[in-house]
């Protein structure tokens, strides 16, 4: 097993790249937090929507993207580049690739900072960047991946440490998620339509969105925890066995949990149920990570008093534990019916982003700076101040959001004495949470203040030292036994056979037709029993196989990819095949007229979805307030879907035809003229700008390719139609003494808003309702909901 060391050579680590990423993360962290404090202030002070490009709808994507990709992204790269070189006992794969990765990533961030305020957006959360930038992100990510795997390839350490497992999972999964969710057809250099629409887009988006949290904000940081925490504590990791169990269960289960962002919506119920249950099952694996972090500190608790690094790590891991307990809780459909679309979710993500990511980053930077610049930390008291102000800031923020979310949720659910009307208007509930939105700014501001103190502290530290690249004598590894595992050894062995066998039977239980499903479940239980028996008898061969797997990075990567790909395949493929427009039996959306489409693209680019949902959930309070619950078919032609994830304003799914055009005009010009005390930004600039007529024909052509049933129209016809509708609206507005240009963005947006909620009821043909019957199982799985419906009808 031990590969003989033939010779010792000095190796200089590439620590320059670590320093670069670290500084970038510190700077962009401050930018992201500043943007956060600013947009949080806009919620109480609408006057802060100072200009068209400074509206909440445009800046909120800037805040989220900066926090995720610029701040945590750079932090993750710093941590990965530092620890991977040391865990592999070699320099990063290729210096050029490292540099391309660094500069490419910063360029992407700069491009994002320019395009997002300009209103160039794909309209999907954390996936707003326009397609040329998407391509750049994918390319740079591949550069990073190649660089990382080159490092593994030439490593001088036979076995892969647990931190590297998490890095591998991060790299392959983020690539998969990012590419699939950004598949789109361009209509111009700055605009594209995603290939998925409606419910499919919703599912893919939250498969991506949830796992951006999982594989961008969690797994890499867990890897960083596994390296830096035992280093700082100078204690052995609590349990290797726990690492194995929690790593594999985490990466396998996480990917299934996406639909919990769409609970009680028009998403098919079986997907909602999978989302909920996999989220509940995720609790234990997540806490496995927390336990391995916290219990590693056993015997080193005294350091908590003296070492700020340990303080930050402990708090970060504790916040991680709190956050991953809250997550499954919020995934329970009943809890979610109250919490969803409210500030509770906002508090939840910030306890993760500020508490877990922010404090892990701070701890790591305080640990790295003295080592990378060969000096001592400038001031421990300043670091302690940062810790306390940061902790208090997060707590204030999170508690304010809890109260706000629960209070607004309860207020929205209140009904009048006869139970036939809602008690509070949406604006009433908004006024009630205003003080809490204020506390949120203070909490966030305290965290930012701590961060700035860290900037000063680290700046002073850096100034007192000089950059050094660590040089180490390393025994060169003779690749005799490592990286020799073949396909057969990877897949044909007890652990994988037992896992895949059990999974296959479980899937049979979910998808087989009635009768066979229960048989499959019984087989699964029996199989699991046998597998456990077998494991008890031959556990040492299982352990030996795993030890060997750890010496083979490619098979390890392949198995990781298999583990993460299963959940996505099972949730997304049936949805794409079954839930398409031609299969919808219930209501189906009316296709947007050209002007309405132009208006919709403006709605998307202004980021209206950041505050307005278009999804009336199957819940009594939602239906009472907004009208009949949304059906799956009612947004099937929406590229992108706009179901939303937060209601700072009311739902708009059935806004069409509810108010006069003049109301919308006045409201968009100055929201407070129609809705006193509203916090919506004014959109007067829509009145002065013309909507984009030039690209409309291309856009409609692309949508036709994507399956939206537009009748054949040539370019002139499309423009004429748009203008005709514009003239109609402008003429109507004139009656109310309102003068608008018929080609203005204002008219387009009003046309779109008035279209919302319009649908047709397709005639159901007998042949259609029985589709898919008689096709053998693997080609046409039985969707659990349909099987159940058939049951009920009998």
């Amino acid at each position: 097993m031990t590969s003989t060391a033939a010779s010792k050579v000095p190796i200089e680590f590439n620590d320059k790249i670590v320093r670069q990423f670290m500084l970038a993360s510190i700077i962009f962290g401050a930018v992201a937090m500043l943007a956060g404090v600013f947009i949080a202030s806009q919620l109480n002070f609408h006057q802060l929507n100072l200009a068209e490009w400074m509206t909440f709808g445009r800046l909120r994507p800037l805040h989220t993207n900066a926090a995720i990709f610029a701040f945590v992204g750079n932090m993750m790269f710093a941590g990965i580049y530092y620890s991977t070189q040391r865990l592999c006992k070699c320099r990063m794969g290729n210096d050029t690739l490292s540099n391309i990765h660094f500069w490419g990533w910063q360029l992407i961030i700069v491009a994002a900072v320019i395009t997002l305020p300009l209103g160039l957006s794909r309209g999907k959360e954390y996936a707003e960047l326009i397609w040329p930038i998407n391509v750049a992100v994918a390319v740079i990510w591949v550069v990073f991946a190649v660089n990382f795997f080159l490092t593994l390839h030439k490593r001088n350490e036979p076995s892969l440490y647990v931190a590297l497992w998490f890095y591998i999972a991060t790299i392959v999964t983020v690539a998969m998620l990012y590419i699939v969710n950004h598949l789109s057809i361009p209509t111009s250099w700055t605009h594209s339509y995603g290939i998925f629409g409606g419910v499919q887009d919703g599912l893919v988006q939250w498969w991506y969105g949830h796992n951006a949290v999982a594989f961008f904000l969690t797994t890499p940081i867990l890897g960083i925890m596994y390296y830096f925490l035992p280093k700082a504590a100078e204690r052995p990791v609590y349990s290797y066995r726990l690492s194995i169990v929690h790593f594999w269960s985490l990466v396998f289960l996480y990917i299934w949990a996406g639909p919990h962002h769409l609970l009680n919506t028009a998403l098919p119920k079986w997907l909602q149920m999978l989302g909920m249950f996999f989220s509940l099952m995720l609790w234990a694996p997540s806490w496995g990570g927390m336990l391995n972090g916290l219990l590693t500190l056993r015997g080193a608790w005294d350091k908590l008093r003296t070492d700020p690094v340990i303080k930050f790590f402990i708090a970060a891991v504790t916040f991680y534990g709190m956050c991953t307990f809250e997550g499954p809780l919020l995934s329970i459909r009943a809890v979610n019916s109250l919490s969803h679309y409210s500030d509770w979710t906002i508090g939840h993500v910030h306890s993760g982003a500020l508490g877990w990511n922010g404090f892990m980053a701070a701890g790591m930077f305080y640990w790295l700076a003295p080592r990378l610049w060969n000096t001592k930390l400038y001031s421990v008291p300043m670091a302690n101040f940062h810790f306390w102000i940061g902790t208090l800031g997060i707590l204030l923020y999170v508690v304010a959001m809890w109260i706000s979310g629960i209070m607004q949720g309860l207020m929205l659910n209140q009904v009048t004495a006869d139970g036939l009307a809602v008690k509070n208007t949406f604006l009433d509930t908004l006024q009630a949470i205003r003080p809490l939105m204020g506390l949120r700014v203070i909490g966030g501001g305290m965290f930012l203040l701590g961060w700035l103190v860290m900037c000063v502290n680290l700046w002073k530290t850096i100034r007192s030292g000089t950059p050094v690249n660590e040089v180490r004598e390393v025994a060169v590894l003779q690749h005799g036994k490592t990286d020799t595992m073949g396909m057969k050894e990877t897949f044909f062995n007890d652990p994988t056979a037992c896992t895949f066998g059990a999974l296959l039977l479980i899937f049979g239980w979910i998808f087989l037709p009635p009768g066979a499903d229960i048989a499959s479940l019984i087989c699964a239980c029996f199989f699991a029993f046998l597998a456990v028996r077998r494991f008890q008898k031959t556990s040492h061969t299982w352990a030996n196989w795993y030890d060997r797997l750890l010496q083979n990075y490619l098979p390890f990567t392949v198995l990781t990819f298999v583990a993460v790909v299963i959940g996505g395949l099972i949730q997304i493929i049936p949805t794409i095949t079954v839930n398409s427009a031609k299969n919808v039996e219930d209501r189906i959306q009316k296709v947007y007229e050209p002007l309405e489409l132009a208006g919709r693209d403006i709605y998307v680019s202004e980021g209206c979805y950041n505050c307005h949902s278009q999804m009336i959930r199957t819940l009594v309070p939602d239906v009472m307030r907004y009208g009949d619950y949304s059906r799956l078919g009612e947004s099937i032609y929406d590229h992108p879907f706009q179901w939303g994830s937060k209601r700072t304003g009311p739902d708009l799914a059935r806004e069409g035809g509810q108010r006069p055009n003049s109301w919308h005009y006045e409201h968009l010009m100055d929201p407070r003229s129609m809705s006193p005390q509203s916090n919506m930004p004014p959109y007067a600039h829509l009145n002065t700008k013309a909507f984009d007529q030039k690209t409309l024909p291309t856009k409609i052509a692309v949508l036709r390719r994507l399956g939206v049933p537009y009748p054949p129209m040539d370019a002139t016809e499309i423009k004429m139609k748009a203008l005709e509708q514009g003239v109609k609206i402008a003429t109507e507005l004139k009656i109310s003494n309102i003068v608008v240009r018929p080609d203005s963005q204002m008219v387009a947006v009003i046309a779109y808003l008035q279209k919302l909620g319009q649908y047709e009821q397709p005639e159901v043909e007998e042949s259609l309702t029985r589709k898919g019957q008689g096709v053998p199982f693997p080609l046409s799985p039985v969707i659990p909901d349909n099987a159940r419906r058939a049951d009920g009808a009998q």
Binding site: L87, F277, T618, P650, R659, S675, R788, G792
Partner: protein, 206 residues
């Protein structure tokens, strides 16, 4: 296996291999932790089995359709019981008128378009709504007719007033109507508005 045998049963196993100075214990998984995982899995299996295979519980849409239908029946029933006489009587009840006034004057509600004095003007400027303090009515001036417009909105809501029933509910709608009627007398002449182009009217945030 590169792991050290424990010297005693209580001491955790420390694995031999050292990664850049980091060592790993190989301890048993905490039982309570394992149980949370097992319980979550068992809960999933039982719940799914009950819902999908045994058909226990109704689907969301079935429940919702039932609730909505029941509500509609209750609303219709409430509606049947309202007559012109009752609304006139209500408009002479100070408590009801006061409550109606409060609703009417709530920012973002009726007052936005009909004005504080019901004249549909604000400081001389015309507001989107129609005046309610004169004897000219566009959609009928009988109490039940006014009541219907407040509930359901004007025939084409994109050009006129929005429907308020779901927001206000029966009780508050009748109070608002009582408040409006308190500016009128039973038996006063009602003129049909000349069919001027319909002006805009309220609703507020939902």
């Amino acid at each position: 296996m590169d792991s050290k045998k424990p010297s005693s049963n209580n001491e955790p196993v420390l694995r031999d291999h050292v990664f850049d100075g980091i060592q790993e214990y190989d301890q048993k998984l905490p039982n309570w932790w394992l149980f949370t995982l097992y319980i979550a899995i068992v809960y999933f299996v039982i719940y799914w089995l009950c819902y999908y295979q045994l058909g226990i519980g109704s689907s969301d849409t079935v429940v919702m359709d039932k609730v909505i239908a029941e509500m509609q029946v209750a609303r219709d029933k409430q509606m049947e019981s309202i007559t012109d006489e009752q609304l006139w009587a209500l408009s002479r009840d100070p408590a009801a008128v006061e409550a109606g006034k409060a609703t009417f004057m709530t920012p973002g509600m009726c007052v936005t378009c009909h004005g504080t004095d019901l004249s549909a003007t604000l400081g001389g400027a015309k507001l989107p709504g129609l005046p309610l303090n004169d004897q000219e009515w566009k959609h009928g001036g009988k109490p039940t007719e006014i009541f219907k417009i407040v509930r359901k909105g004007s025939p084409d809501v994109t050009k006129g007033m929005a429907a308020w029933e779901l927001v206000l509910g029966m009780k508050r709608v009748s109070e608002v109507v009582a408040f409006v009627l308190s500016h009128h007398k039973e038996g006063e002449p009602i003129t049909q508005a000349v069919d001027t182009p319909p002006p805009a009217a309220p609703p507020a945030a939902k």
